[in-house]
Amino acid sequence: ARPASEFELVIPIEDDAELIAARTAEQIARAADFDQEAINQIKTALIEACLNAAEHGDSPDRKIHQRFAIDEDKLIITVSNKGKTFGRANGQATPALGAQPVKGARGRGLQIIRALMDEVEFERTDDGARLVMTKYLKRPGSQ
């Protein structure tokens, strides 16, 4: 039995910083015995969570905070950003990750995250927003 252990990562909203986050998540998930398929799902979900934090959070510090908690049978990832939330509804353009607003697969970030993780909770906090996503370890014979 492994005790819960926690990692924290803060990345800037810029360039491909979310890729560094995804690879750190990969290391942590591998240490927690997740298989490569689950690891890839966790990475993709984290990338989308970071994009949302960059797009919708008008974060004054331009940072995304992440917490990774390895528990007995699960990895809980919390992605939070400060700043008053703004959606595209109020007419503001996508603030980060380039100028051009895009359509199509966007507007589906949370849907992608929900499909790839086992539990997902999104909540607005006093000073920003927080996404908590959980992935369970598949134990042999636990189907």
């Binding site: 890729l19 993709t44 990750l97 199509g104 499909a115």
Partner: protein, 122 residues
């Protein structure tokens, strides 16, 4: 990682584009420009080979949807190849299967584009 140059090569009259490690907005936009340039130069057969692609985000996919549209609009054919399981899962989730063909390898993609009726069924 600041480099967003996209590798591409011409094999006979088909273009093969390699998106690199992470298909984000910038790299997807580079692919978009390259596809436009290829179409302008008369190339009508395009493969995007995702062999080296570790991660794809939803902004990249959105732009890719636009690329698919413009290739189709120019009577061209686009085939995607070498997607790993999770990237393919993402593409399926976002409904790309109905817009574009995905095959296992670049070779199969090129055969499909050459319209070889025997080989194309593999």
């Amino acid at each position: 990682m600041s480099a967003s140059e996209i590798r591409a090569r011409l094999i006979e009259d088909a273009a093969v584009i390699y998106p690199g490690l992470y298909l984000n907005q910038f790299r997807a936009e580079s692919i978009e420009s390259q596809c436009k340039a290829f179409l302008a130069a008369g190339v009508r057969r395009i493969v995007i080979n995702f062999e080296e692609t570790e991660l794809i985000n939803s902004i990249g996919i959105s732009i890719l949807l636009g690329v698919i549209d413009s290739v189709n609009g120019a009577q061209g054919t686009l085939v995607l190849s070498n997607l790993n399981a999770s990237n393919r899962e993402l593409f399926e989730m976002l409904g790309l299967m109905s817009h574009v063909e995905m095959v296992d390898t670049e070779e199969i993609a090129l055969l499909k584009l050459n319209g070889d009726p025997l080989q194309a069924t593999t």
